[in-house]
């Protein structure tokens, strides 16, 4: 059984059909990259998987660990092991980063029937992850993402992922707006989490990130459909020919689904 199985997924937003029949299988241990130009539906796919309610699924199904993901609330999906790193992390004044993370971790542990973690146990683990992402400890007592730079916000997303240890991590354009140093740090954090029992879906516009996080599979999303799938070399080809060139090739040969 695949960890994630998307079958014929159709999604509309505000009356417009954005996803027009997506099929995708992701197994534990794999890293998939979904590439595509603006407006192709990449972020919509990520948001639907994270169970954002504004997106309306009109057809198809999504199974996560064999369970109906589309029937889950966002918090249930998270507790089952889905994590999305936001393209635009939200600022939440008045809630400290540390408090937020511990609340999230404990909510997930409680859902899985575990004990809550107290501050004494939480802190050492937290410090270790901070070090991994080269983040200043001072950021932790500040409000969630408030006053963080773009790079700090993205690193904060990966920090959350490192603490919550999801089964399926979806990175929604985590590379956008990052300078090369921040990109390396983010990639290091992500690579440290690759493991045989975890899958990752890396949504990106640019090939650049994929030089640091080397995917097992690359899918090209165009106008709501996966038009091509291949190995990491496909990302390089896209870099060379652009999405339009890929589209022409896709027309000549029927799309293969992963």
């Amino acid at each position: 059984m695949s960890l994630l199985e998307i079958k014929n997924l159709h999604v509309t937003v505000g009356g417009h059909e954005i996803l027009k029949g997506i099929d995708l299988k992701v197994n534990a241990g794999e890293v998939h990259s979904i590439m595509g130009p603006n407006g192709s539906g990449k972020s919509t796919l990520a948001q639907v998987l994270a169970r954002r309610e504004a997106y309306k699924v009109t057809d198809g199904e999504v199974l996560f660990k064999g369970k109906d993901l589309l029937a889950m609330k966002p918090e249930e999906a998270a507790c089952e092991g889905v994590f999305m790193a936001f393209q635009y992390p939200v600022e939440i004044p008045g809630i400290s980063n540390a408090y937020f993370l511990r609340s999230a971790l404990n909510a997930i542990r409680k859902y899985r029937g575990g004990d809550e973690m107290d501050a004494m146990d939480f802190l050492p683990m937290f410090r270790e992850k901070l070090k991994l992402l080269e983040m200043d400890e001072k950021l932790m007592n500040r409000s969630v993402n408030e006053g963080f730079s773009g790079g700090e916000k993205k690193r904060n997303e990966i920090l959350q992922m490192a603490i919550l240890q999801p089964k399926l991590a979806i990175l929604d354009e985590t590379d956008s707006g990052l300078d090369i140093d921040a990109l390396r740090i983010v990639a290091k954090g992500v690579n440290a989490m690759r493991s045989p029992d975890r899958a990752m879906v890396v949504v990106t516009h640019y090939q650049r990130l994929l030089s640091y996080i080397i995917p097992d599979f690359v899918h090209v999303l165009l106008d709501g459909r996966i038009v091509r799938s291949g190995g990491p070399e496909l990302a390089l080809e896209l870099e060379e020919k652009g999405y339009v060139g890929t589209e022409n090739e896709a027309r000549q040969s029927a799309p293969t689904s992963a």
């Binding site: 918090e75 939200v90 809630i95 937020f100 609340s103 909510a107 959350q160």
Partner: protein, 464 residues
């Protein structure tokens, strides 16, 4: 201005009876003070919504109710019944039952030297000159009928006198318990809090109910802060939903005095909290910080009247409101800058979260500036819980109700952060945490409407 008092004969009878027997009835000055105040009240009657100061708050339910003066002994209390209302770390707790001091229920852990903590009635009997020096000197009974009514029936309440240079680390807790009666009853607690030059203290004035019934608590507090005095005052309203609570805090600040007024309106049915500081000496600073949280059919009215009467003073008003169900909140922020109060720096901010379509907030700034070199700003926002923030929290595994509560706590935390760390703040924090649990456990119906609401958020920012 106002309609004649309904039940005027009842008030007249009640007053005539009271006047003859009240503590200090044999003191001519006090008798005069009460008589003048009652005369003023008879002239104006209760306010109506035609009065500018009461435009958003209809008190006709008070006007048409026949109240009798509440008796302390209406229901005997024991200390153990009050245990839940203790404030951890307070140096003393003065308990008032239906407005009258209950020495047997009060505790004085370790009375600090140079500090007098007692009841107004005891002081009137034993040391009337100290009372005469301040009582009624500051409260504006001309403009506010409830202040006039309070003064007419002024007899008991807290008396706190902190001598020059004395620093009290721990707060003094004034607990006002109203007990339910078979008939509607009213009490008029009158507090006199005097802080001499360079003293420092924290007062918690808190209103609670024992049982449910029609009760009017109409309190007035005169707080005098001497030169360089540093005073924090907390007003906490958490009475029963049937209670009417009208309170006025009149602050008189001398040169370089620093006063913080924190108000938490959580309980009560119809609540009006007036805060009226007068910055009478140069270099004074006043922080007026408040949080009001209403649900059901609560009406919570915050009326500020900040008077800058001297140069180089600053005032800050920060009020946050959370309103659910049919609750109605009011923030009326009046700032008056007198002719000579140059270099005044006055700021006012009111932020509101409306959790239901039927909740309502009226927010009104009112600036009257007679000096020419001043800085006055005001702003107000009205919004809903941010759906993006809610989704962000939920996407990390936090269940929807908890996520809502976290966001409400974060909104309330803006007010908590303005309080100095210590037992009073901890007390306030605990009350808010408990209270928000009851609000956030009820999730409003979600729909596409939430998106439109997000766009309703508006911000008014003006510089006058």
């Amino acid at each position: 201005m106002s309609t004649a008092i309904q039940n005027s004969e009842t008030y007249l009878d009640t007053f005539s009876e009271f006047e003859k027997r009240a503590g200090g009835h044999d003191l001519p000055w006090l008798r005069q003070l009460r008589a003048d105040a009652f005369a003023r009240f008879c002239e104006t009657g209760f306010p109506t919504t035609h009065d500018e100061d009461w435009r958003f708050t209809n008190v006709s339910a008070i006007t048409r109710t026949q109240f009798s003066l509440a008796q302390k002994d209406a229901r005997p209390l024991s200390k153990s019944e009050l245990a839940a209302w203790r404030v951890e770390g307070a140096v003393a707790q003065l308990v008032f039952v239906n407005g009258q001091f209950a020495r047997e229920l009060s505790t004085f852990d370790s009375l600090p030297a140079n500090t007098k903590i007692s009841s107004l009635q005891e002081q009137i009997a034993s040391n009337p000159a100290a009372i005469q020096a301040h009582l009624g000197h500051y409260l504006d009974i001309q403009r506010d009928p409830f202040s006039a009514l309070n003064t007419a029936f002024a007899q008991d309440g807290a008396y706190v006198h902190v001598r020059r240079g004395t620093v009290l680390e721990a707060p003094i807790h004034l607990l006002f318990v109203s007990t339910a009666n078979n008939v509607p009853s009213m009490s008029h607690p009158r507090n006199l809090l005097v802080f001499e030059d360079e003293s420092q203290a924290t007062i918690i004035e808190e209103y609670v109910s024992l049982g449910s019934g029609t009760v009017l608590s109409n309190s007035a507090t005169e707080l005098i802060a001497g030169e360089n005095a540093i005073v924090s005052h907390y007003m906490i309203e958490r009475e029963d939903r049937e209670a009417f609570n009208i309170s006025t805090l009149r602050i008189q600040q001398q040169r370089s005095a620093n006063v913080a007024s924190h108000s938490l309106l959580l309980g009560g049915g119809l609540v009006r909290n007036n805060v009226h500081p007068v910055l009478a000496g140069e270099g004074g600073e006043c922080l007026i910080n408040g949080l009001f949280v209403g649900n059901g059919g609560q009406h919570l009215d915050n009326y500020m009247h900040v008077e800058h009467a001297s140069p180089h003073c600053s005032s800050r008003q920060f009020y946050n409101g959370i309103l659910d169900d049919h609750a109605h909140g009011v923030f009326h922020g009046r700032i008056v800058v007198h002719k000579d109060a140059q270099k005044t720096d006055a700021k006012q901010t009111n932020r509101n979260l409306l959790l239901s379509d039927d909740a309502q907030i009226d927010t009104k700034p009112q600036l009257e500036i007679y000096a020419d070199d001043v800085k006055c700003t005001h702003g107000a926002t009205i919004g809903q819980i941010e759906e993006n923030a809610l989704f962000y929290l939920r996407s990390r595994g936090i269940e929807e109700n908890s996520a809502r509560r976290l966001l409400l706590l974060a909104f309330a935390a803006e007010c908590l952060e303005r309080m100095k760390a210590g037992p009073a703040r901890t007390h306030a924090e605990n009350l808010i945490h408990q209270h928000l649990l009851t609000i956030s456990n009820h999730v409003p119906a979600q729909g596409s409407a939430s998106h439109d609401h997000a766009r309703d958020e508006r911000s008014l920012e003006e510089v006058g």
